[in-house]
Symmetry: none
Subunit: 127 residues, 4 copies
DNA sequence: GTGGTCTAGACCACA
DNA sequence: GTGGTCTAGACCACC
């Protein structure tokens, strides 16, 4: 698993981890039913605290992205994970705030989104 | 000034305040050179501490959105405020993370953006 | 009298006024015994509050630069004004702090001082 | 860390703290990458409020002297911190005002500067 | 009236 | 343990 963590970023490490795992799914590197590395081994590989990995996994379980099974964690088999209304509200709030900034600072969001669609596909094909 | 703060939200109050003020500008309710309510009066109106308002104002000054003058704070007269490269990077990161979630949870971002463009204009015209 | 006040500056107006008056003396535009404009007229000319001009004059009296006489204020006849040890200590502190910044931010103070010596003389001769 | 704060001074405590930290760097007592004492521990040691220390640290981060990392604050690794034009203008203003006073009060700045260069080096070598 | 500074104490998120 | 946020209340400088 390829995980990139920026220790200097202001984004909490567990949050970065959450998004890196989701990114793996979006790019098609990980599929429903795949099992994840153990908390201990992943923490060791990345060089971060056990608790941090644990928290990231718990968050993903809470979102329905991962499922905890006997032998550890795996990608949930039911897709797409159902998201709660409150989560969707949070999502919209965040997006709305970003749009406000885009307006205030004159950022071209449409162009950025095009870039990102490409970046999201990433190396989807070489997997 | 119309300010809506959700005390139950996990978003810090000062951050909400920052976005509410920016929203006022984007919607055309406040214009370059307009002066803002004093730290104490706004705090009193909203029912929060003056330090919280102060922090929001300071953040906006740091972003170039507000300017501090002898008699208080006002909307910066130079528009649009130039945004630093590092800030833009942060912006892109946040947007990228949102796009990941949109993919994972099958959210139609394009549709949401249309909604938001309308919401952003808001009551621009009745002012 | 030529007084330049920057209302947008973070330096208090009365402080700017104090320095502008001292600058007039240093440049030889004003001499011992000269009387100053009345508080009211100067405030009117600059467009600031009476209290502000008053405070500046009071500070200068306190420093021995001005003397209050029946008809108003005049430049002290005794030169150079004696300064207290505590004032000199303050002066040294300020200068020391500036030197620290010069070191940290790699500013060439010697060069700046040369510039300033010229600027201080200013239009000394055309008066 | 050696920090000297004058509680009776009219200079704000956080400002004194800012200069004391810079002085530590200039004197070579602290180097790029060194981590600073935690906000709370330093506040406790000096006997001031943690918010006051916090503000000093924030100012230094804003100036590029300190960097905030996950585990706290550290001296920025990139040296020297680049200083903005507006900051340099402020610096020149302050220095100019001091030079005015030096002229008015007949203070020998050149001599003081020599003293200060020695004081700045301080105990650089015994460390 | 305005903002600036400082204190004291609380709760939370992160690692 | 670390910093982030928020509150409450105080005193001061400036205009």
């Amino acid at each position: 698993m390829i995980i990139e963590i920026d220790m200097a970023s202001e984004t909490p490490i567990y949050t970065q981890l959450v998004y890196q795992i989701k990114l793996g799914i979006v790019r098609g590197r990980m599929h429903a039913g795949d099992s994840l590395p153990s908390v201990r081994s992943l923490a060791g590989d990345i060089g971060i605290n056990l608790h941090t990995v644990n928290k990231a996994y718990k968050v993903l379980v809470g979102e329905g992205v991962l499922t905890q099974v006997k032998k550890g964690y795996e990608i949930s088999r039911e897709t797409p994970p159902k998201i709660s209304e409150t989560y969707k509200e949070e999502f919209k709030e965040k997006l709305f705030d970003l749009m406000i900034d885009a307006n205030v600072f004159d950022i071209d969001v449409d162009m950025l989104l095009e870039e990102m669609k490409i970046k999201l596909k990433g190396d989807e094909q070489h997997d």
